[in-house]
Structure formats: C-alpha cells, structure tokens
C-alpha cells in the first residue's frame, strides 16, 4: 500500500509539467451566388439528309450544362443564335430546332425557328434551379428544309449558345 502510494505520487509529480494554451476564434463564411456553365459535346454538328429526294436535313447538338439560380427570384436560360450559311447555301429561315433537357430546366416546347438577329431559347430555368454537380445534358435537334434552289456544295453556320443565371 505504501509502495503504491509512493508510485502514485511520483506519477502525479511527473504529470505536472508546465504547459501554455491560447485560443482565438474567427467566423468562416461562404458566399454562394448564381452561376452557369455550358459545354458543347462536339465541336461540330453535322446536318445531313437521309435521302436524295429533298427529304430535309437533320442533326443534333449535344451539350452539358451546370446551373444554379437564386433561391427566390432567380432565372436562367440557354439560348442560341446562328449565322448565315453563306451565298448559295440554305436559308436560316429554313433552319429550326427542338430541345430536350432534364428536369433542372424547361426545354423549348416546340419547333423553334433559328435566327441570325436574336437569341432564341433552348432551355429556360426558374428560381432555385440546380443541375447535378457533374452537370446535366441537353440537346438541340436541328432540321433544315432541303430547297431545290440550294446550290450543291458544303455550307456551314455558327451556332452560338449562351447560358445565363441570376
């Protein structure tokens, strides 16, 4: 018993080693705002025809996007505007598209005529819209009327997609 008391006292003595402590706190804040990004899966969308009887051309632009709109009053949009095909080529007035998108947005409801003078909607977003963290996928499916007046050759138009979020 006496020996145990001595050992306990020695252990307690060793434990009383001078230490110093200090602390301070800070507030870690995070500000999250509306954001949006768009990526075209392919650099080029080929519009081709399935027959040789003026049956019309078609092609699909695949894209992915990320979106976050403000909680109560936010909005967002993916829109597109095209350039002309060039002299002798198809008319932009004969170019139209339909859209698909996941539930994070509202795809264009019907066939929409492309325009060179204004942007036209592909996907619309409301308040508190969020894509998946890895992004969502959508499509713009193009149709082009095959006019007999179109001269043979290769023609191209540039489609500029713009994504926005508030």
């Amino acid at each position: 018993m006496k020996r145990n008391l001595v050992l306990t006292f020695a252990a307690a003595t060793l434990a009383f080693v001078p230490m110093a402590f200090g602390a301070d706190t800070s507030t870690l804040g995070v500000t999250v705002g509306p954001e949006a990004s768009f990526t075209a899966v392919d650099a080029t969308t080929t519009i081709s025809k399935g027959d040789t009887a003026f049956g019309g051309y078609s092609g699909t632009t695949n894209f992915t996007y990320k979106i976050r709109t403000s909680q109560t009053t936010g909005t967002g949009n993916i829109s597109v505007q095209v350039t002309t095909f060039g002299t002798g080529g198809p008319a932009v007035a004969d170019l139209a598209y339909t859209c698909t998108a996941p539930s994070s947005g509202t795809a264009c409801s019907s066939s929409t005529s492309a325009s060179t003078s204004t942007t036209t909607s592909v996907v619309a977003f409301g308040a508190d819209a969020h894509s998946a963290d890895t992004g969502d996928s959508g499509t713009a499916a193009w149709t082009l009327v095959d006019r007999t007046a179109i001269k043979t050759g290769s023609y191209s138009s540039t489609a500029t997609f713009t994504v926005s979020a508030t």
Binding site: T25, S26, T31
Partner: protein, 195 residues
Amino acid sequence: MGGNMTIRTYLLRITGSKCKFRVVAKQALLAFLLPVIAMSDIQTTTQTMSADILPYGKVSLPSNVTLRAADSRFGENLTGSLTVSYWARTSTAGGGSLTIQASSNFSPSGGPSTSDVTYLCSGATLGAGCSGSQALATSTQTAAVVFPAGVCTGGGGACSTAEPNTVLLTLSAPDKPHYKTGTYSAQITFTISTL
C-alpha cells in the same frame, strides 16, 4: 639645595603628569573613536535572483474570413485566405502546435459542409506549417503549425526575428451546383499549445 630639589622634583612631577595626560588623552580618543568606527562599518549581502521562464502561447485571428467563387461559371473552387498571428515559446525539451477546428457545420443548411473545406498552410515564420491539403473537421483539431523544442517568438538571436509570427492559411471548398445561393457561416477556433 633643598629648593632646587624641590623644583626639580616639581618639574619631574609636572612632566610625569604630561605623560600621563597624553596616555589618558590617547585612551580617551581611542574610546571616542571606537564607536565612530563601529557606526560606519559597510555590510554586504548577496542574494540569488532566479526567474522561471515557462512555455508560452498566444494566437490572434482576423474576425472573419469568407470563401468566394473567382468567377460565375463553376470554374474554380470557393476560396479565401487567413493570416494567423501567433506567439510561442517552447522549453528545451518540449514542443507545441497550432491547430484549427470548426465548432459546427455551416449555418443555415443548404450550402457547403465544413467537411468540404480544405486548407493549405504556407509561410510559417516559426515552426513547420502543415504539409499538403488538410481537411477541416468539427470533431477534432487538425494541425496548422508544429513547434519544435527551444523556440521563441521575437527578439532575434535564439528567437525568431518576426514578432508576432504568422502563417497563411488558404481555405477552399468545391463550388457545387446543388448549393443554394446565400451566405453561410461557421466558427473556427485556433488553439496554440506549448510545452
């Protein structure tokens, strides 16, 4: 002849008195001087002065740090930086550390989680800053700086020239689309301990 003897005797007596007077005078002078010599005696005392210099630790932070996106296209993480000031003194056989811990998850809910936050340490002017990306935790303290034995802040020489010492923490959280827009906050605590 009797008169001459008398005079001689008288002179001898007078002379003897002079001698005796001188002796007495000297004795008296010595008697007077002794107390004076005793009152002016100088006494010296020595005393050992000792000071116990103990380990010391103090830390100071800015009141807040905010993580933000660098763009609005999910291009970068949400980031922010924090300069921590600290003072430390470790014993010759001791050491110490500066640690960080989140007190809770971010509030309100709907935003990032504190477990999503990581940090890098750089430019520690005393001790070794954490190496590589560290994850912020609520359940445990994670290292920011480690102090070796026998270090001290300020003054130069055996101590650091800088006072206070500082370390830069760069904090980061992924910018995920599923976060709801808004502002979120959590408390982080830095603790310095020295031995």
